[in-house]
Subunit: 189 residues, 2 copies
Amino acid sequence: MSNARERILEAAKAAFSERGFDGVSMEEIAQRAGVRKPLIYYYFPSKEVLFEEVWNRALEELENHIFKEVENENYYVRKIKRFLRAYIDFVTSRKVLSKVIEKERASVLDGSGEGDVWKRLKRRYDDFLNRVAQLIEEGKKNELVNPEIDSQTAAKLITEALAASTTSGSVLKSIESFILSGLMGRTGS
Amino acid sequence: MSNARERILEAAKAAFSERGFDGVSMEEIAQRAGVRKPLIYYYFPSKEVLFEEVWNRALEELENHIFKEVENENYYVRKIKRFLRAYIDFVTSRKVLSKVIEKERASVLDGSGEGDVWKRLKRRYDDFLNRVAQLIEEGKKNELVNPEIDSQTAAKLITEALAASTTSGSVLKSIESFILSGLMGRTGS
DNA sequence: AGCATTTTACTGACCAGTCGGTAAAGGAGG
DNA sequence: CCTCCTTTACCGACTGGTCAGTAAAATGCT
């Protein structure tokens, strides 16, 4: 088993999280991995594909962390609270991964990337968003989430908002109650 | 009065909004402005400073649009509703400007940019964030906003969430009520 | 076992092209 | 002539990516 490939991925993850896709050169990744640049191309056909694997791994870890915590809980209010707590926990404890996503989400989502790779990145993120939307939809069926709220929009809004909360521990409770009230409340017009 | 400078800024704005700071070359900006590249350097000392002016203008327009609508309203609930509506209106009607901000906000905020310029960009954005936080603080004084909520965090969260809502018209009401409930509600733990 | 061959993991040297940025010289109007 | 705007021509550094080659490990064959 080659650990060079893994070291490259690790270095790429760190680099992309600091400066984003365009801000990082293959040479930099190679140096951080303690490897010559052509070796990266031995394992990955292009910079884009390398980023794709970093991106997919980040989303997979995020999904695992969040939905594992949620699936064995049947009472919806507890479920959504667990979801929020797990999300916040992920963002604060796995900052590197979170920043990879945060830095490129805007570019991935508005689909300005022209190659196949960027389309796949977008699909992957949309899948994640759909799982969150499904969770909200479930709350509407249980009549615990405001039915006026569009699930897709709420999913986008919540994930975006939570990603921004890399702030320290004490304020997290307020984030949680903020979103919770937003979902359930009915203060509109 | 030279309109070349203005054409350059306009072209830069459009380009940066599509591909972000690192994704755009000075040559591309020059071509889109119908100008040779060195002319950009006649008006702007560097790519960073050019971006700085685009960034500052975007934030200034956003602030004007938002706070102009708010300042002559004294009843707080109407005030915050106007704020949200103006924000959503800006995001949906001035998409180019919104995207400039959205694409670089993560990089600007985590301060990985090393030069003076990036520090100034961050300061500028923090100022904007503080004005939003002040608005929320005002709601706490009027006992209309949940006092558990940290204003700074809420400001970050709301702006981040609103920026993501480039979706079409019908869902905007639900975004508004979502955030409104989040601010006022008290469903926490 | 021992030898030959293929595969794996890796590197130095090097592309062609692009990057941000510059020096110097027009061209136009006063 | 001078000053302001604009261009032509160019630079060194760096970009993503390629290629020929290699040490060592795995495999096949006898």
